[in-house]
Point group: C2
Chain length 188, copies 2
C-alpha cells in the first residue's frame, strides 16, 4: 500500500475533494525544499453484472456537458466503508442491488496525489428500485457485453481509475490476462 | 483545449505544485454546490533520439527511493515557454542537446485537475556537456530501441503523461498507429 504523506507533513489546506499537505524534505545534497502532496477523498467503482452484461453509465454533470462513459462510482462519505459506498452508489445510480460486493483491485494514486480507489464486482444484480440521482447527475444506464466493455479503456473521455485502465489495456494485449479478468468478473 | 477553471472560480489556496480553485455551481435541479478544481504547474517531456535509440532515465528522488523509469522531463519555470523548458530539462538531466525540439502532442488533465503537459521530440541529439542535476535528483541515462521503449507504458511504476501512456498502448494494439508513431519520432 502506497503511503499517504510523510509523518512530518502538515495539512496546509482542506478542500472539498483535495487536501494539501506540505513538508520540509532533505535532498541528496543536504539542501532542503518544501515538498507537496495532495490527499484526494476515496472513491469506489462497481462492475455490476446483469444477465452476463456489464452496467455502463452514460453521464452528464455540470461543467462536463459533453457526457462521458464510466462505471457506477462515487466518492466515499466520511465514516463510510468502501464496500458500503459501493453498494450505496450502485443503488443510487442504477436502482440495482446485489447480494455480493467483492473487491477486485485497489489503487493508491501516485507520488504527487494519494487517492484510494477500490473496484468491486457485484454479480447477479437485480433492479429493486428507481435511480435516486443528486442534483449534479444525469445518468443513462446501458448494458454492454464483456468484449465491448473491455474497449471502454480506449475511450480517452471515459472515466475510470488510471490503474484499472491499464488492467483493461493489458487484457486487450494478453489473451491469458483477458480470460483471467473475465473469469473474475463473471465468477467462473 | 480543455478549459482551466470557470470564470467565476476563485483561487482559495496557492501551493508549490498545485493551486486550488473553488466556485459555486448551479446544479440541474437548481440547487447549488461548491465545486473544486486544481491547477497543476505545467510540465514537459522529451523523446530524445541518439543514433536511433531513445533516451530513458532511471531516476530516484527523495520519497521515491524504489526508482522509476521515465523520459527527460520536468516542471516549466514561471515565465518560461514550454519549448524552452523542454530544451533546458533535456540538457540538465542528460547533457544532450538537439537543434530541433518539435511538439508531438499535448494534454490538459481531466475534469478535476487542469494540467498542461506537452511531449516534444528532439532528433539527432548530441552530448555537449555533463548532467547538471539538482539536489533532489539521481538519474542514470539509458538508450532503448523503439520496441523496448514502447513497452515502457506497461510498467505501472514508470512516469509519463496519462494520455501519452494511452497513445503508447494504442500503438501496441494497432500496427498502423505503431508505424505512425515510429515515423513521427524518427522523422521519417
Amino acid at each position: 500500500m502506497t503511503k499517504t504523506v510523510p509523518k512530518n507533513a502538515k495539512k496546509v489546506f482542506e478542500g472539498v475533494l483535495f487536501d494539501t499537505y506540505q513538508w520540509e524534505q532533505e535532498m541528496y545534497d543536504g539542501s532542503k525544499a518544501i515538498f507537496e502532496k495532495l490527499v484526494r477523498k476515496p472513491s469506489v467503482e462497481v462492475i455490476a453484472i446483469v444477465d452476463n452484461k456489464i452496467i455502463v453509465l452514460k453521464q452528464k454533470q455540470p461543467c462536463r456537458e459533453n457526457g462521458f462513459y464510466g462505471l457506477p462510482a462515487g466518492r466515499v462519505d466520511d465514516g463510510e466503508k468502501m464496500q458500503q459506498a459501493a453498494k450505496r452508489e450502485l443503488l443510487e445510480e442504477t436502482g440495482y442491488q446485489s447480494e455480493s460486493m467483492n473487491s477486485l483491485v485497489e489503487f493508491f494514486g501516485n507520488s504527487k496525489i494519494y487517492f484510494h480507489e477500490q473496484v468491486f464486482i457485484a454479480q447477479n444484480c437485480k433492479k429493486i428500485t428507481e435511480q435516486k440521482l443528486d442534483g449534479g447527475e444525469k445518468i443513462e444506464i446501458e448494458f454492454w457485453n464483456f468484449d465491448k466493455w473491455l474497449q471502454l479503456c480506449r475511450d480517452a473521455t471515459s472515466v475510470m481509475p488510471f490503474g484499472f485502465r491499464m488492467m483493461m489495456y493489458e487484457a486487450l494485449l494478453d489473451k491469458k490476462k483477458k480470460e483471467e479478468l473475465k473469469n473474475k468478473i463473471f465468477g467462473m
